[in-house]
Amino acid sequence: MKASGFPYVIPMLLLSVAFFATPLAVLVGFSFIGPEGLSLHNYARFLGDAFNYRVLINTAKLGLQTIVSTTLLGVPIALLYWHSGKTARQIIIFLTLIPMLTSNVVRTFAWIVILGRQGPISETFVALGLAERPFSLMSTELGLVMAMCQIDLPLIILPLVAILSRIPVTYTEAAQVSGAGPWRILVTVLLPMMLPGLLAGWILVFASTSASFVTQAVIGGARNVYVPQLIYREVGTLFDWPMASAIAVVLLLSTGILLVAMTMISRHRRLVGHA
């Protein structure tokens, strides 16, 4: 056998098998335990319930809304980074990383204050006369998306910054000389070239959002139920582990399908090569 790099990945493989593949196999195995031996009972029960189905849809919707809002906020920040000098770039990266250095639980509780009836958002709206009386964004999907957006923003900015720093300015100059205005340059040159970074960011944001139990539970409240809360309920409250495993597998599969879809898009011949 020819010498290869295989021996070097053995430690990694061992770790993956022991701490990822094996538990995952156990999880999947668990999900087939029904009242009468192995069956698809749990899946049938989960997917047969219109409520669960809606929770699944809502979870995907939450992910998509977060993707849209992080993109709308992240792209301008990434472009600002691209246009900035060395010092400004460092500042932008630092500010971007700060949320990542804070505990998710702490950030989530800070959002309780921000979104509350006496929080800055409500008070600003009242002060500007945009709202008649103080209001709370707690336990609303809007509030949840806002919090998620802040928490996940670095996940989209970092890949974008990575890809932008490899795009030379001559591309925008070429477009400029060709007669393109700023918006046309953004839409026809910058955004398409940023797309591989966007796809990477979207995958990260979606995975992070659809699994962020703490934020969903605390800010979304009991009214906005997402898949992780269902799993937690089955494990921690109802002790129905096979059911919890089945839901986890469904979540894994649905996130996985989206992930594969995005990866396939990023393999498109127009997107390869300049990433």
Partner: protein, 371 residues
Amino acid sequence: MPQASNAAEGRELSVRGLTHSYGGQNAISDISFEIKAGEIVALLGPSGCGKSTVLRAIAGLIQPKSGLIQLGGQDLANVSARARGIGMVFQNYALFPHLTVAENIAYPLACQKVARTERRERVEEMLSLVQLKGFGNRLPRELSGGQQQRVAVARAIAGRPSLLLLDEPFGALDRALRFDLQVELLHLQKTLGITTLIVTHDQEEAQSLAGRLVLMNKGNVEQIDTPMAVYDRPKTLFVNTFIGQANVLHGKVDRLEAEATTIALTNGKALVLPRRLNFTTGSTVTITFRPEDVRLSATPSASALPARLTVSVPLGPTLVHDLLLEDGTNLRASEVRGPSTFIPEPGAQLFAEIDTMRCHAFPSEPEAFRE
């Protein structure tokens, strides 16, 4: 064969007193030159001489500190880059990697809001013009370097610009390909009659393409002339050494006569130039001459400088000899090789006869003192 449909009328470009600085240090100062309508001019100079800054100022990609740029008589100061109607080929082509060849070429047309059918026709026309018919659906990375370069040219001229700017357009190509593409570009330019400015550091490229050269060094224009004039009558030592090869000897003006000047060389020998130089006696001068103005012989003579041969290199039809003068100065001589040309052994003692008619003399002081 003029094809009036292919280009807006080429317009003359006039650059006056163009000055720009980055961070307080002047990148270019007081650059002035003109390009007649339909002419090709090359902006030639070593890297860092400021030629790209000039090009970017003309394209409108930077706002120069001062100076006037006029295209067809119109002042471009308040015209944005997108509205100047200039075509540009970038150094690494800057082809949009996510767009096909056809989409790249159609890009300026889309910006000009040209109708879709007309756009398609124009793209086809451009593709055949640069001999890339059938390549429209390829992506840039699926093309060779030469093909990419042609796409970049096609994109630059698709929008019928009145001025074409090329920034080191052949720099990324290998030598063999370069010449073919240069000829092709020349042909294209003549066909379209478009005013063209090429920025390059490659003197051969400049000489083979341009009718006139603008030689730049350290942010200043050194000389503007035809390639032959620049080679034969360099105005500055820089131009002399930058264009072609030059031997350099240092000395002092020893004696001035009506039809002759005697130069006392630093190596103790004397050189008599058959004309009166415009220097005072005693001023230090630099004498230059081309390798082809040196004749070697095995026997000494009064005016010949003794030299020892280091190496002889045949370069196609010519033979280049590298020699060392007695004081260690390098000397290069070249001669056309014939069947009977004698090739001396390295280390041989030879005598170099310099064609003093064709020597140039420049003041030796640093440039700052000359003014």
